[in-house]
Structure formats: C-alpha cells, structure tokens
C-alpha cells in the first residue's frame, strides 16, 4: 500500500521534476543534459515576446481576480440574506458558469462579443463628433478580463458562501441586538471572518486566470498571454526556453496555492 502511494507520487512529480531539471541544461538540446547552467532563464527573461506575454498575463490575472473577488463577495453576502426566485436564478447562473466547458465559454464569448461589437461600432462611429477617430470595440485584453471575471466570480461566490455558511450566526445577531448599523456589523464582524476566504478566492482566481489557455485562445484577439505564447512555441518544437518558463510558472503557482491553502485552513480554525 505504501509502495503504491510512493509510485503515484512519483508519477505525479517526476514529469514536473524533469522539466525543472532540464531547464538548467547548459546544452542547446532540449532532451540531452549537458551540464548545469541558468542561461536559459537569462535568455527567457530577456526575450521581449515572453516579457510582453507575461505582462499581459499578470494584468489580466490581477484585474479579473480583483473584480471577481469584489463582485463575487458582494453577491455571496447578498445571497446569504435572500430566498425565492432571485436566489434560484443566481444558483442556476453559478451552476451554468461552472458546468459549461471552458471551450464553449470561450466560443460563446468570442461570437457573442464580435456580434455585439459589429452592431455597436457603426453606431459609435455615427455618434462620434466629426473630425475625431471614433473608438473601435474589438477583442483583446478587455474582453479577456471580462470573460475571466465572469467565470471566476462563480468560483469566489462558491468559496465565500461555504465560509459564510460555516460562520457563527449568533455574533451577527448579537451585533444587531446591540444596535450596530448593518454596515458596522458587516465591517466589524462579517468581513474579518470571511476575509481569509476572500483572499484565498482571490489567489485561486489569480492562478486560474494566469494558467488559463482555452478561454484566452478564443477571446484574447491579437493579444498574447503567457500560456498562448508557450502553446505556440511548443507547436514550433520543444526548446529549453519552454522548460525555463514552465518551471517559473509552476514555481509561482505553487507559492500562491500554498498561501491560499494556509489561509483557508487558518480561517477555518479561527471560527471554531
């Protein structure tokens, strides 16, 4: 039994380990280890295409995780207090957002937005004062952020709601019995208690957005994110550069995940 577990862990971690090992390869062949060097990291970090894609990915991940955390938390708090058709509708929306495959979300966003933009652009051009170039709506960073935020909001609502459900209601009742304003109760009782969950939701959202390939593939227009860059370079052939990018991406994700995990656990202990 123990031996079996060891084998599964090896299966899970050896491929990742090999990528990390080969990223320190001194040779130029991707699959032959020829001495230790960090030169591929240097090359990667000075490649303007990689840095551009990285910047885009960071902007998208940060903005969409932030929007999702704020709006998702607002929705989760409100859903706690309502019943009836509105709540059923929201449960349905969250269910749909999570159930529908990412690829279908990507496609739907692409053709939905392109269709809407095709209607709006002539309208904007007509409304704009003459002599100025009218703005042209198109697919790009904005549409990608909007698509990621939609999906991640569902994720944040699920996480924050689980936390709210596990919360001690008597504190909130006590607070309002003592004539605290609703906003005061929220700021002093609810928010501190759900904050670890919000932060964990933010970190998970960030990781998800940063690693997402399939939605970005459809929705990012002519912009390149890091996963899109990596995907197209793999298509062109395996290079040590991809190993270096992969190792860095895995490293950053691991760091964020462990932080999120610790936050969720510490939050869990506090409430008990």
């Amino acid at each position: 039994m123990k031996l079996y577990a060891v084998c599964v862990y090896l299966f899970l971690y050896i491929p990742i380990g090999i990528i990390a090992l080969f990223s320190f390869n001194a040779g130029r062949h991707a699959s032959q280890m020829q001495g230790f060097s960090v030169k591929w990291y240097g090359k990667t970090l000075s490649n303007p295409f990689v840095m551009d894609a990285l910047e885009n990915s960071l902007i998208v991940a940060f903005t969409s995780a932030l929007c999702a955390s704020v709006f998702g938390t607002m929705a989760a708090v409100a859903l706690q207090g309502i019943k009836g058709p509105m709540r059923t509708a929201f449960d349905m929306l969250i269910y749909i957002a999570v159930m529908i495959p990412g690829i279908v979300i990507g496609i739907a966003t692409l053709i939905g937005l392109v269709t809407v933009f095709d209607q709006l652009n002539p309208l904007l051009a007509a409304l704009w004062p003459e002599g100025f170039t009218p703005p042209k709506l198109r697919m790009g960073m904005g549409s990608l952020i909007a698509a990621h935020t939609m999906f991640l909001m569902a994720l944040v609502v699920i996480i924050v709601r689980a936390r709210l459900a596990g919360m001690d209601r008597s504190l909130i009742e006590a607070s309002s019995d003592l004539y605290a304003a609703p906003m005061g109760t929220f700021r002093q009782i609810t928010l501190p208690m759900i904050f670890p969950a919000i932060l964990a939701g933010f970190l998970l959202s960030f990781t998800f957005s940063f690693d997402d390939f399939i939605i970005a593939f459809f929705v990012a227009g002519s912009e390149t994110t890091l996963p899109i860059y990596v995907f197209s370079s793999i298509r062109r052939g395996v290079t040590p550069e991809i190993n270096a990018i992969g190792t860095m991406v895995l490293g950053v994700s691991l760091l964020l995940l462990i932080t999120a995990q610790l936050l969720l656990q510490r939050g869990g202990h506090k409430s008990r």
């Binding site: 929201f90 529908i100 279908v104 053709i111 609703p182 998970l204 996963p227």
Partner: protein
C-alpha cells in the same frame, strides 16, 4: 435603505456580468446553430436544421470523446481509489493533510505545462529512447490514444482523489474494527462497509473528471498530434481555422446537450444506487 434594496444593489454587478458575459453569448451560440453560413464567413440567421444534419461529418471527434473520456475517467478512478483509501485510512493525521495537499496542488498548476512534460517524456527521445537501450525498438508512444490517456490520467488524477478521500475520511474507523472483530475478512469488510460508504465520493469524482474531459482540447492537441482528436479540437478548427460559425455553434450546442444528458442519466443511476446519498463538496 431597506435590506431588500441593499441585497439587490449587492447582486447587481454580478448579475449584470453574468447576463452580458454568459447568458447573451450562450444565447447567440444557440441562435447561430440554426443559421446558415454566409459567403463572407459570418452567419445568416435562419431557422434550419442544416447544421445539425451535417453533424455526422464530425462523428470521429464525438466518437473519440465518448470513448476516451469514459475510459480515462475509469482508469483515473482505478488509480485514485487505492491512494485515497491509503490517505484516509492508513496515514496518521499529522501526515494526512500534507500528503493530500501534495496530490491536489498539481491540479491547480498549468495543465499546459504538465501536458508538455509528457510530450517530453513520451516523445522520440524520452521513454522510447530508454526502451531502445534495453533492446525494445521502434516503440511509438506520442500521438497515440495511449499518450492521450496518460495525459488525461496525469491531468485529472488529483480531482478524482480528493472527493473519494473526503468520503472515506468521514467513515467511522470503529466500523472497520468492529467488522474485523466480528470475524470478517479484510476483503469482506471492504466490500460491505468501505466501498458502499465511498460511493458518493466516487460519483462526485467521476462526474467532475468526465465533465471536464468532455470539453477537453489541450491534452489531445498536445499528445494526440492531430491523430487523436476530441470535440474540443473540432471546435477550435471550426471557429479559428475554417471560420464556420454556424456549423461550429451546432457542434458546441450538441456537445453541451450530450453532456447534460449524460450527467442527468448518471445522477439518476447514482441516486438509485445510493438512496441516502450525501453531497460532497468539490474543494
């Protein structure tokens, strides 16, 4: 401000966002799937089932998805179950969390990079080269259904382990002791207590993995090399290469419908199998 107004205001941004970025786009896909392809590459709105009647042209993609997704799910279950059992029953509480986190963490890291690792391992200079050295020659692993299955198991194993672990962890260990004290052999205990108790976990794990596999694109694209392709790959081709939006929409709608039917039938079966089913959280 009344409580009601406040709740409405809190829900407004999320509601509007879901409407614009989820409901409207999905509706457009649905409407387009009944349309016709315009000569310019767009869609002419219509009410025809022409696109749906052309579906057999992409039959291979559906066939591959509907065979490799269940096989991959089953293999992941067979590999995950003993590990989940080990973590829940055999490991001391101190190590339990650490070992569990070690299983889950890969799931939240880039599937792209993790599939790439297997291109590396299964490609000409990876495992086949090693086999060559010990005298087994001419083995081709990459771009086969085997490679895609390895990628699937590697990618989704963590998602299978977690819910099974949760259901086994809730199991009262005294039941197992009682069973063996009463003279049951260990396989009897397993079949009569452990396995039935873990059915909700198995059901959740299989459903999660299966749903994600139905829409998979990356793993077949990277490890199937155009030879083993899923519906997802057909969709990328239809929308990004041949730009046939009407037909692509019909394929997408069909995928979602097939998925919903499979999941509904599956849920029915499971709830019949285990009437007192409890819900197991995802993560």
């Amino acid at each position: 401000m009344t409580k009601r107004t406040r709740n409405w205001l809190l829900l407004a941004p999320a509601g509007a966002w879901f409407l614009v970025m989820l409901i409207i786009p999905l509706t457009v896909v649905f409407i387009f799937s009944f349309g016709e392809r315009a000569p310019s590459g767009g869609v002419v709105l219509a009410f025809s089932f022409e696109q749906y009647s052309n579906l057999p042209a992409r039959w291979t993609a559906f066939k591959n998805t509907m065979t490799l997704a269940p096989i991959g799910t089953l293999l992941a279950l067979l590999i995950a179950y003993p590990l989940a059992y080990f973590l829940a029953v055999k490991v001391s509480p101190k190590w339990k969390i650490i070992l569990l986190v070690l299983v889950i963490v890969p799931f939240w890291t880039s599937i792209l990079i993790r599939s790439y690792a297997w291109i590396f391992l299964l490609g000409g200079r990876g495992i086949p080269a090693l086999l060559d050295m010990i005298g087994i020659e001419g083995v081709r692993l990459i771009n086969t259904p085997f490679a895609v299955l390895v990628g699937i198991i590697y990618g989704y194993l963590p998602l299978m382990v977690f819910p099974i672990f949760v259901s086994l962890d809730k199991l009262d260990k005294r039941l197992l002791e009682a069973s063996s004290d009463l003279g049951a052999k260990s396989w009897q205990t397993f079949l009569q207590i452990t396995l039935p108790m873990s059915i909700p976990g198995i059901a959740t794990g299989c459903m999660l993995v299966f749903i994600l596999l139905m829409g998979e694109y990356l793993i077949p694209a990277m490890l199937g090399g155009g030879k083993v392709f899923f519906v997802g790959n057909a969709l990328v081709d239809l929308f990004l290469q041949s730009r046939n939006w009407a037909y692509g929409s019909a394929v997408a709608v069909t995928l979602v419908v097939v998925m919903l039917i499979t999941v509904t039938v599956y849920m029915r079966l499971i709830s019949r199998l285990d009437a007192s089913r409890e819900d197991v959280s995802i993560m």
